[in-house]
Symmetry: C2
Subunit: 579 residues, 2 copies
């Protein structure tokens, strides 16, 4: 997509964003999302009440206007070789380009810095790569001239993986894959497609749908994130129940490393051909090379997509429901359970309720509370997407029907389901809106066995309050949990954490420390380091807890062989300074 | 299981085997299998007709009685250290033990050699390992004393992976994992089980069923093959549609290598924690270390297991049916399509048909041929296993119902389905019976995209005839194909190849050459090197066609780091002589 539709640093599209209206309501501008274009009167009061802060007395913080950036570190011999090899428009030293390619979307460490503070280190230039052969030439030049290459896809990383290593002394070239956005070959019979790695999820899905197919990989970032980024991050989508995680969707890939091009002539759905290096590229976070192409497995475009929602007495009942559902084999394409704070958060984004709507709402509320005995301060909700042939959707619906009575759940309607599902795409706009009021919002996620889920949720909430008090943040923290992916053996928990940092010194560093503390709590209670965001630089400190010594040594040996000069010097995961 | 129930070199149990009766019928002895205990009058005539040979004039070949084996190559310092560290009964220099641990189940290269020829190289001793800690001590001693360790699980490899490298000069110790057969921990809520790697599929499944669970991994070898062997081979089971392949079933594992113990503290259903070395152990074929433990993902034991079968006008129609089925999401736990020769092979194992049975059979045949117009020389059949809750099985059945009319298929009944499914377990006994008559049978398998399946089947059949003629084997070859696993993007084809080598010089080498030629044909027509048997030593010559140079270099670098002294000197895949 053309860059001018994208915000350079904040999340999303330039035509979309939350604005504060005079009556203290907010509106999401534009018309891209189902919640665009109407005033939301309940949002600010909700935020104020949950965080125990007052926004009305505050002036929104103005974004820092970046002055002239420091001069780039130009490796002149490399620049000359680059100019000789590639058209001039493929290399940019432009300040705006450099700044845009020097961060991802981690809240305090990246977006907050670029908007209101200063990024500690910047890319020196940006290379817009055109394909595998160009990548091969580029990597060779970079190795010859000792230049550092950092792959850049959709820029949506939330693990500081795109942060430029502060101590890098070589010239740093961000390698933008945005031009590598073509479908190379679609094989109808074989249900697979070969694509360039820089194609975004939205573009790819649009083109596939036009041909009667779907990839079905729909991470929250799919409007912007790319195939290469998904592989490098080991991504998971909202509809993974039906379509699988990224590792289930990639048949093979092409990766250009300093040692050469990693490629297999696999061409088959599943193989037993010895240890497949392929698997180690998932989660490689830019450390090994540039992913340039991938062969992806397709499914027929769904005949039917039906939304649904469920209400549960409380979060624990919803978790038990999901656990039971996971034991069967017929799952909705997506089922996500939100806890009570997040349910109320979603309610706060509804339009003003008047007349019949208000009446209907009251009636519903009465039914819920009086008839079912649900406590509005405790109930939890699930948003559901059923997808497939008409028959498959019926079958998926029946699997739900069979369980809801046992768990005392009730259907909340298709519209609430659709709304809840699509709300996902608006969350980051809300984050950026609130940041102006010194309200920091971050998400973190983990996967855990079923018997750890409730404890992790409870302990994270408790720890959020303790940490909030420890650092003296004003008001109280907002912390909500949702279960976004399920497996027979466990689930992914996705936390949203908000807090005011107003008037706090070094608040960004403190919030970063809180994130680390929360991660430690998650690990201590049986959760994993990450279900799908990855390690990046944000969680690298936890590596010694994750792997045995031998495991780390082998991965380092692999890096040394692939990239002895640390050309791919992103320094993510355990590859800090390449070793 | 006690070793005395197992054949030392041939396949299977000592109480089970095909015997020739005086009336030229055959019987499978014992009562382990559904086809045990009755005379099969049609089998010998079928074999004679398909291969165009006469068995009645032949004397069965007598198995070679192994004399005293060559003295083992004893590394005395190592033996002394071993004796000091471990109880005496854990180390065996016994000839029978050595011979048993010096081969797998590849037909001409292994079983034929040990029964009728001579194995070129033998293990010097066998170590019966007791667990992870013992493995750690053993590996350390082996590294100190420059001894070669070869992991040995169920002994069912069909890729020459268990063959002792002929040029190995160090003492070779086979490490038998049979004592490591315990369930360490069953987590009911988390649907997972931690096991020692030497537990066999049958033992594990029996214990899990008693607790209400199933792993659902059912390779043809599951009576004998082990969890460690499945991982090392990258195995696939007959019910993978429901339960997944081995890589889908293993959450984490413990592997003891000379560098140290590879272990992750993952404990979660799915993670994004950087490149997971874990993945490289699938298909590692004994080259990296000894797999000692694994955490496996479970499912509830199925409420219902229902068999079914289908008849198709021809194999091509059956393939089209499977391809269509693979586009949906509701699949039977297992569906396997056999071509006409294999269908008739299965028929030849039925009991004599007399009285009402014969009449019923004639009627069925009449219905098939006259009413449906099926040609008995062309029709193909599928055996089906539906598994899950009663509701899930109904849903799976309906998915079939919806397709059969479109493809003009007809149900062949539950009994034929059950029989066909279980016949799998008898195939290797038939192989060993026929080998006495100089009839060599081998299976090989591949996976391929849907649009290559028919061509591969046709070309392999054509090549089998050409190769048969080239080497001057008597009669004609038997070659049949079945589709054993399906994916939306393609399928696994499993070939059975039989030929008489009677009176041919160096027949074993020639049959080996035929296997290589067939593999080349498969690769040339878009098939993969293997879907689930692996590379071992049998297919190592094809490695340069499979991987790019860079890929191979990285795998070799990892081996050097893990095992600089090539202690795990199995020499499989690309690790011939450790490099």
């Amino acid at each position: 997509m053309p860059n001018d539709q994208r915000e350079p640093h904040r999340w999303g599209f330039t035509d979309s964003g939350f604005v504060l209206n005079e009556d203290n309501s907010v509106t999401l501008t534009g018309n891209r999302y189902s919640i665009c274009g109407y005033p939301m009167p309940y949002f600010i009061p909700f935020v104020e009440s949950m965080l125990n802060v007052s926004l009305s007395t505050m002036q929104p913080r103005a974004e820092r206007q970046p002055g002239r950036l420091p001069e780039p570190n130009r490796n002149e011999a490399f620049c000359a070789a680059l100019a000789q090899k590639f058209p001039v428009e493929q290399v940019s030293f432009d300040d705006a380009d450099r700044l845009r390619h020097s961060h991802g979307q981690t809240t305090v460490d990246e977006v907050y810095q670029v908007l209101y503070g200063e990024l500690p280190k910047l890319a020196d230039a940006v290379f817009y790569c055109g394909g595998t052969e160009q990548a091969q030439a580029l990597v060779q030049l970079a190795a010859e001239h000792d230049v550092c290459l950092l792959p850049y896809g959709g820029g949506t990383s939330v693990s500081n993986a795109l942060r430029i290593p502060a101590d890098e002394r070589r010239m740093v070239l961000a390698v933008d894959t945005g031009r590598m956005n073509r479908i190379i070959r679609l094989e109808r019979d074989n249900m697979r497609v070969t694509v360039q790695s820089g194609i975004s999820g939205a573009d790819l899905e649009r083109q596939l749908r036009a041909q009667g197919f779907t990839l079905g990989h729909e991470p929250d970032s799919s409007e912007f994130s790319t195939v290469g980024g998904w592989i490098a991050t080991n991504a998971s989508g909202m509809k993974k129940n039906r379509y699988g995680n990224i590792e289930d969707l990639v048949e093979s890939m092409t990766v250009v490393s300093p040692l050469g091009t990693l490629q297999e002539s696999v061409g088959a759905p599943r193989v037993s051909s010895g240890s497949r290096l392929h698997h180690l590229l998932f989660g490689s976070e830019g450390n090994f090379g540039l992913i340039t192409e991938a062969v992806l497995k397709l499914r027929p475009a769904p005949e039917v997509t039906r939304y649904q929602s469920l209400l549960f007495r409380d979060f624990a009942t919803g978790i038990a429901f999901l656990q039971e559902l996971s034991k069967g084999s017929v799952w909705p394409a997506s089922i996500r359970l939100v806890d009570n704070p997040q349910f109320r958060f979603a309610q706060s984004l509804k339009p003003a309720q008047k007349g019949w709507t208000a009446c209907k709402h009251s009636l519903q509320k009465w039914l819920l509370t009086m008839l079912k005995g649900f406590d509005p301060e405790k109930l939890a909700a699930a948003t559901i997407v059923l997808e497939g042939s008409a028959h498959e959707v019926t079958v998926q619906h029946r699997a739900l029907d069979r369980l809801i009575r046992r768990y005392g759940a009730i259907y909340g309607g298709a519209e609430n389901g659709r709304r809840g599902y699509q709300l996902t795409y608006a969350i980051a706009y809300i984050r950026d809106f609130l940041m102006r009021y010194d309200l920091i919002g971050e998400t973190y996620e983990t996967s855990a066995p079923w018997d750890c889920i409730r404890t992790i949720c409870d302990e994270v909430k408790r720890a959020a309050e303790l940490e909030h008090a420890r650092y003296g943040f004003p008001g109280k923290p907002y912390i909500s949990a949702r279960i976004t992916q399920i497996y027979p053996t466990g689930a992914c928990i996705y936390f949203t954490h908000g807090a005011s940092i107003h008037g706090v010194d070094n608040a960004d560093q403190k919030f970063h420390a809180v994130e680390q503390a929360m991660r430690a709590v998650i690990l201590a209670n049986g959760g994993s380091i990450s279900h799908h965001h990855g390690i990046g630089k944000l969680r690298a400190a936890f590596i010694p807890q994750l792997y045995s010594d031998a495991t780390r040594k082998v991965l380092l040996a692999m890096k040394r062989e692939l990239d002895p000069g640390n050309v791919f010097g992103a320094g993510n995961n355990l590859f800090d300074r390449g070793q």
